[in-house]
């Protein structure tokens, strides 16, 4: 057993740190660390800075423009980005649709779409969930019917997707669509790429409990999609979708970000007072923070253990990381809310949107914390709810 990073890995970490020091714009960093809302420009700006460095797609093979890092290097990179407070690289293009295109797409799709994903010319969103198909994705009803006319082969798409994250920014959506209703429900699904600017596509905002516009409903009304936008074979989409879901492994635990937030929680708890003493010295509160810190230490090790098996096929152990990772993220936001106390009450949308320098209540650190807490209730629901993950653990790992 040896848990030390090699000299090469440490040198790599220093290289990443130096890059982040010099290239992460301070205003972006401040927004992230302060939990303010990021707009499209913020995401695109950071995406393009990383793309220029050749680091925006850490998991991609070199032939498509990846940096050729090991799994451990990717982990170090993610940790350092989280520590520094970079915006996230939206996963829908880089980490979700791109691996499917690489594995199952045509040469033409690879040549046309992958460079545009790397450069962020196309903003992608995900069209999996439907009002009747949340965790039960095989139940998708959106239809795609194949036609041939003077303009060539194409699909006519009708239906509705929902919970579509940041679709308001998107140029493209990858969808699970039903192309055969007569067979077993998993066997009639195809994986289709749709232009969000095509006639018949409508995006309707869903405002969440923190009053943020992060997700949407997307409607397709006789949308014409070239047949060349089908990925792989017709009716094999379920296989590709599962490939995508199994692709994400250790990043899902978000240990790096949780470590950063734990630091913030402690700073808040030292600044706030209870009974005339720093809150972090209150035994009841400190015990909750300590228990959470230990939970995070354990998850950190669990992630490293999964990483140590890198190269093996992605497995259901990601479910353990998802459940624990999101539990910890939620507990962190809950304790931050408690640390802010009554100062978390004022809601200041203008401040959250970055439209004014200070919050109305005068406590800039506390102002976003209630929104953050409410927003993060999503984490145990999305990506396959934690109940679904427990089902995967009991069936795939435990054989029940």
């Amino acid at each position: 057993m040896d848990l030390h990073y090699s000299d090469e890995d440490l040198a790599f970490r220093d290289q990443v740190r130096a890059f982040l020091d010099s290239h992460l714009p301070k205003d972006l960093q401040a927004k992230v660390l302060q939990h303010l809302r990021l707009d499209k420009d913020d995401f695109v700006r950071w995406h393009r800075i990383l793309a220029r460095q050749g680091w925006v797609a850490p998991a991609w093979p070199r032939e498509f423009g990846g940096p050729g890092w090991t799994a451990l290097q990717r982990h170090i990179f993610e940790e350092e980005c989280a520590r520094a407070g970079t915006p996230r690289i939206m996963p829908f293009g880089i980490d979700m649709v791109a691996p499917v295109i690489m594995a199952f797409g045509s040469q033409e799709q690879k040549a046309r779409l992958l460079p545009r994903i790397l450069s962020c010319e196309d903003w992608w969103c995900q069209g999996y969930s439907e009002p009747g198909a949340g965790s039960d994705l095989a139940s998708v009803k959106t239809t795609a019917v194949r036609h041939l006319d003077a303009d060539g082969e194409h699909y006519i798409v009708n239906g509705q997707k929902t919970w579509t994250t940041l679709a308001q920014h998107a140029d493209m959506i990858f969808c699970l669509v039903r192309t055969d209703a007569s067979v077993r429900k998993q066997e009639g699904i195809s994986f289709l790429l749709i232009d969000m600017h095509a006639p018949g596509v409508t995006v309707r905002p869903i405002i969440m409990l923190d009053e943020d516009h992060e997700v949407n409903e997307v409607f397709f009304d006789n949308v014409r999609v070239p047949a060349a936008n089908l990925v792989g074979e017709e009716n094999r989409g379920w296989t590709y979708a599962k490939y995508l879901l199994g692709h994400e492994r250790t990043g899902i635990a978000a240990v790096g970000r949780s470590k950063r937030e734990l630091g913030l929680l402690k700073r808040l708890a030292r600044r706030e007072h209870k009974n005339g003493r720093p809150l972090l010295e209150d035994p009841l509160f400190a015990a909750k923070v300590a228990a959470l810190e230990i939970e995070l230490m354990a998850l950190d090790m669990t992630v490293l253990r999964v990483l140590a098996q890198a190269g093996k096929a992605p497995g259901p152990e990601a479910s353990v990381l998802k459940v624990r990772g999101t539990d910890i993220q939620q507990m962190l936001t809950e304790l931050m809310l408690e640390a802010a106390g009554p100062m978390a009450l004022p809601f200041d949308a203008a401040y959250l949107e970055g439209e004014q320098e200070h919050s109305v209540a005068g406590d800039d650190a506390a102002a976003p914390l209630a929104s953050y807490y409410f927003n993060y209730r999503k984490t145990s629901i999305y990506g396959g709810s934690n109940e679904i993950q427990r089902g995967i653990i009991s069936q795939m790992i435990l054989g029940l």
Partner: protein, 379 residues
């Protein structure tokens, strides 16, 4: 970076598995517990033969200089089989001698298996606080005179030599003025009241009335024993984490097997979602505990004392949480059978429960974790 065991570690584990499979079944263990001695001289002889007592002893004293990761492998196997022999008590005693320096002859005797040891650290009032010591040692010519009481000393009556913490200065809960002594079990003035614990292990209360000790009975330095005591106790807490991991693995496997075979309402009970989710939560606890046991195994031998304290406290707390959850749920999932003496599950539950009460419970180690500079200093 890797988590693989080396060849020797795999061999140690295999040898233990073979011996346990042959000579330490649940029924054989039951007979050992019921015997008047409560331990088995044959089992001890086998552990010695397999090199287990020599494993942690330094090479200069005839051992293998095994580190904490080697002990991880051994204790995990002993935990899986709920072995009740005085192994942990002995190697922990040896660890104090090792940390203190000197006492080479005793370490040699541990390596050869001639000497069993025990650690008398707790007192009636001290609960989990090892610095809370009333037992006193006064200067007596060149040597010392020991008076006081120690409670629930695991394998206290089986040991040939006891590591005893005593106060040679300072007030009841001071860190200064603590001294550790190596006390022969047959020293005049030492009285033992032996009993069996609920987990099947033997224990004893010890009374010292004017026990006379030579100057070289001191382990480490007189009056400066706290650092040694804390360091050794962290090592012991680590060993308990490894043992608990083995016990949790075995109990988890047995429970999973039961869920797959036990039929109710015409299906295996493992088909019910409520039980599946309970089992998934047990699995998550087990994985988190495994991670912490591995982490403490790697950090126990490190030179960084602050890091060792922090990780040992975190591991003992987290493993204790898992042990409680997995123990309670395993009993629940076994239904009525789970609360019987007949089933191994209840015995695992009992051992896991007592491990939490040994060398600091969850609350103790959480508080200790909070008190470390590493917690208070925000990153």
């Amino acid at each position: 970076m890797h988590f693989n065991l080396n060849e020797e570690q795999v061999q140690f584990a295999d040898a233990l598995k073979r011996w346990i499979g042959r000579d330490y079944s649940f029924e054989q263990r039951r007979a050992i517990i019921a015997s008047p001695e409560g331990t088995s001289s044959q089992a001890w002889a086998r552990l010695v033969e397999l090199g287990m007592t020599a494993l942690p002893v330094p090479q200069e004293q005839g051992g293998f200089s095994g580190g904490a990761t080697d002990m991880f492998v051994v204790m995990r196997e002993l935990g899986r089989a709920l072995v009740v022999e005085p192994y942990l008590a002995t190697v922990l005693g040896a660890q104090f001698l090792k940390l203190g320096g000197g006492h080479g002859a005793l370490l040699e005797a541990v390596a050869t298996g001639e000497l069993k040891m025990a650690c008398a650290l707790g007192e009636r009032q001290s609960r989990h606080d090892l610095r809370d010591i009333l037992t006193r040692a006064e200067r007596d010519g060149a040597g010392w005179r020991l008076d006081g009481e120690k409670n629930v000393v695991i394998h206290g009556a089986e040991a040939g030599v006891l590591v005893v913490s005593a106060r040679t200065g300072g007030a009841q809960r001071d860190e200064d003025g603590i001294t550790l002594f190596a006390v022969p079990a047959d020293a005049p003035g030492l009285r033992q009241t032996a009993y069996r614990g609920l987990d099947g292990l033997r224990a004893a209360d010890l009374r010292f009335d004017g026990v006379v000790l030579p100057p070289d009975a001191v382990i480490g330095q007189a009056g400066n024993g706290w650092e040694l005591l804390e360091h050794g106790a962290d090592y012991g807490a680590g060993l308990l984490c490894f043992e608990a991991l083995g016990a949790m693995e075995a109990l988890f496997d047995a429970t999973l097997e039961y869920l797959k075979t036990r039929q109710q309402f015409g299906v295996p009970i493992g088909k019910f979602q409520a039980l599946q989710h309970r089992m998934a939560d047990m699995y998550i606890h087990l994985e988190q505990a495994r991670s912490m046991a591995l982490l403490v195994a790697v950090k126990l031998d490190g030179a960084d004392a602050a890091e060792r304290r922090q990780v040992a406290a975190a591991a003992k707390y987290r493993v204790g949480e898992a042990a409680r959850f997995i123990g309670q749920q395993a009993v629940q999932l076994h239904g009525g059978m789970g609360v019987t003496d007949e089933l191994a599950a209840s015995h695992y539950f009992k051992r896991l429960t007592t491990i939490d009460l040994t060398l600091g419970d969850r609350d103790h180690h959480l508080a200790r974790f909070m008190a470390q500079p590493g917690f208070q200093r925000a990153p």
